[in-house]
């Protein structure tokens, strides 16, 4: 049974169709990539799946056997669906440790305070944020550390699935390499990953399946090597062959 099933999901802003009857399935344990040019609806897709800040206009989304298209964002999180945002995001006035602790405590309720604290420390260890930085305010961290912190807050929720929205944006090449290792480590914990990324090499190195969105519609879906060889994908990314030359 797929962990996530998106069926004919649409979302419009006025006359603009941001998503038009998008359908796909994600199997448990896989890393599923989503690519597409700017404005193709990638982040909107994450927004409607997580209900943050809005759900879809129509269509059906089933996560772990539960229909979630009308659920509030925090209740979707409780089911084990975590996400990150395109820009490095944090609770600026909380310390690094508090950022992770509060995320774990609310994102994975019904644990003892000791379990919550142990979970927070473990999440910080997984993303590699050293103890010397646990007491610093999140706003004082570098871009890369804030991205790692955002991942740690998601890991602390012990999610079944993690939606990553352009984790490589704004990072240097060595930082991107570290991020790839980090995402693999999280996947090895048994977390299913759905990954939006602009950098195709990043997607290619991680994804088992790749979906390409263009103008709110699914252009193609399948094995990453086949997908990037697809003429429609080349055209969507680079324009016509003539224009590309």
């Amino acid at each position: 049974m797929p962990l996530l099933e998106v069926e004919s999901v649409s979302k419009a802003f006025g006359s603009l169709k941001a998503l038009d009857k998008v359908s796909f399935k994600v199997e448990p344990g896989e890393i599923f990539g989503i690519a597409g040019p700017n404005g193709s609806g990638k982040s909107t897709l994450f927004n409607v799946i997580t209900g943050i800040p809005f759900g879809p206009d129509s269509g059906r989304i089933v996560f772990d056997g539960v229909e979630i298209q009308r659920k509030a964002g925090h209740k979707i999180a409780w089911l084990g669906l975590a996400r990150t945002f395109q820009r490095e995001t944090s609770f600026d006035k909380l310390t690094v440790f508090e950022n992770v602790l509060v995320s774990g405590a609310y994102g994975k309720p019904n644990r003892s305070p000791e379990e919550e604290r142990a979970g927070a420390l473990e999440a910080l260890d997984i993303v590699g944020l050293p103890r010397s930085r646990h007491g610093r305010l999140a706003e004082e961290l570098s871009v890369f550390d804030r991205k790692c912190l955002m991942l740690a807050t998601a890991v602390a929720m012990q999610p079944k699935m993690l939606l990553l929205d352009e984790p490589a944006s704004g990072l240097t090449r060595p930082e991107i390499e570290t991020s790839i290792g980090l995402i693999r480590r999280i996947a090895d914990l048994g977390v299913t990953i759905v990954l939006i990324e602009h950098v195709l090499t990043f997607l290619m190195s991680l994804s088992q399946h790749l979906l390409v969105l263009n103008q709110g519609e699914v252009l193609t879906i399948g094995n990453p090597k086949d997908v990037i060889a697809d003429a429609r994908v080349i055209e969507a990314y680079l324009g016509t062959r003539k224009a590309a030359v």
């Binding site: 964002g73 995001t89 508090e98 609310y106």
Partner: protein, 330 residues
């Protein structure tokens, strides 16, 4: 490992904070033996009441980022709830004081509903409107509330075998101090808990907080309700102490004074608002001889402090602590 699980890195330890609070309140508890005239004690009692109201406002405004301009209405509700319960219903004053806190809490929950989906200036509009609505309701029920005349001869508090009228405000001083102590402990426990962290998380980034399982509705109700209880109790105590109630408590004048205390003290600290309440209340008395110049000098002082320390008086403490830590590290 066990120590790691208990500690909150980057924050003052529970033990140190508790020691500081107990010491500060112990010093305050000794002041009636040094300050023996009833007028000076009255000034301190008023400072305690303002400190309760300001520090609770800091919870919703500073920590929660909710521009709740109806906070003083919660104080006013406490004043009138106490007056009505003791005068009309004949409820025991101590019980009425606790119930007044509960009434203010319920009022806060009611006002939370319309502001759940609002932000910024729209919250100011709704909460300000709420304060005006409560005031108009009180004015319209003049048979019970005294309308514009207010309520007089409100029943005072009592202590068995002790004359509270002729003790030079000795008992009132300790009751006010006890309310401030209880309120401060409650607020600090709350803001240092995971509930407190969730309130700050929602303020810092609402969408991100929701994505981490934090319910906007639930936490906002908790924030407003928690800021209301001791505000209502302080209102009830104020009514018992002054023995009268007037709609002036809903006016902009008092709201401006208390807001100055919150901002001058520095938001999101609790202690800053308490410190600024003492500073401004005592300063206003020291400057009494300056007549009309008094508010001008006070305003200029606030501006100067805010320019030098945008984080308020708490910023002075924070920068002193940082420079001490730097010196210690060498």
């Amino acid at each position: 490992m066990k120590a790691d699980l208990r500690a909150t890195p980057g924050r003052v330890s529970w033990k140190n904070e508790a020691a500081l609070v107990v010491t500060a309140f112990a010093v305050l508890a000794l002041t009636p033996f040094i300050v023996t005239d009833s007028y000076s004690r009255h000034i301190l009692i008023m400072a305690f009441i303002y400190a309760v109201v300001a520090s609770n406002w800091d919870l919703s405004l500073g920590y929660g980022g909710v521009f709740n301009f109806g906070h003083l209405a919660l104080f006013g509700i406490g004043v009138y709830a106490y007056g009505l319960m003791t005068k009309l219903a004949g409820i025991d004053p101590w019980l009425a004081m606790a119930l007044s806190g509960a009434v203010s809490t319920i009022a806060a929950i009611v006002v939370t509903i319309p502001i759940l989906r609002l932000k910024g200036i729209y919250i100011i509009l709704v909460t300000f409107g709420f304060a005006q609505l409560v005031m108009q309701l009180i004015l319209s029920q003049s048979d019970y509330t005294g309308g514009t005349q207010g309520m007089v001869r409100i029943q005072t508090l009592y202590l068995a075998g002790h004359n509270m009228i002729r003790d030079g405000k000795f008992a009132y001083f300790y009751i006010a101090l006890a309310i401030l102590f209880a309120s401060t402990v409650f607020l600090r426990l709350l803001v240092r808990s995971k509930t407190g962290a969730s309130i700050v998380a929602l303020r810092d980034n609402e969408e991100y907080a929701v994505s981490r399982g934090i319910s906007l509705v639930r936490q906002r109700v908790i924030t407003l309700a928690a800021s209301a209880f001791f505000t209502g109790v302080a209102g009830a105590f104020y009514a018992a102490y002054q023995r009268n109630a007037s709609v002036d408590v809903f006016g902009m004048s008092l709201a401006t004074i208390i807001l100055s205390m919150v901002l001058l003290g520095g938001t999101s600290t609790i202690y800053g608002a308490i410190g600024a309440s003492f500073v401004l209340t005592i300063f206003a008395e020291v400057m009494a001889d300056f007549g009309a110049w008094r508010p001008i000098i006070t305003a200029l002082l606030i501006i100067v402090v805010m320019l030098v320390y945008p984080s308020g008086l708490a910023g002075i403490w924070a920068s002193a602590r940082a420079s001490w830590l730097r010196r210690r590290e060498g």
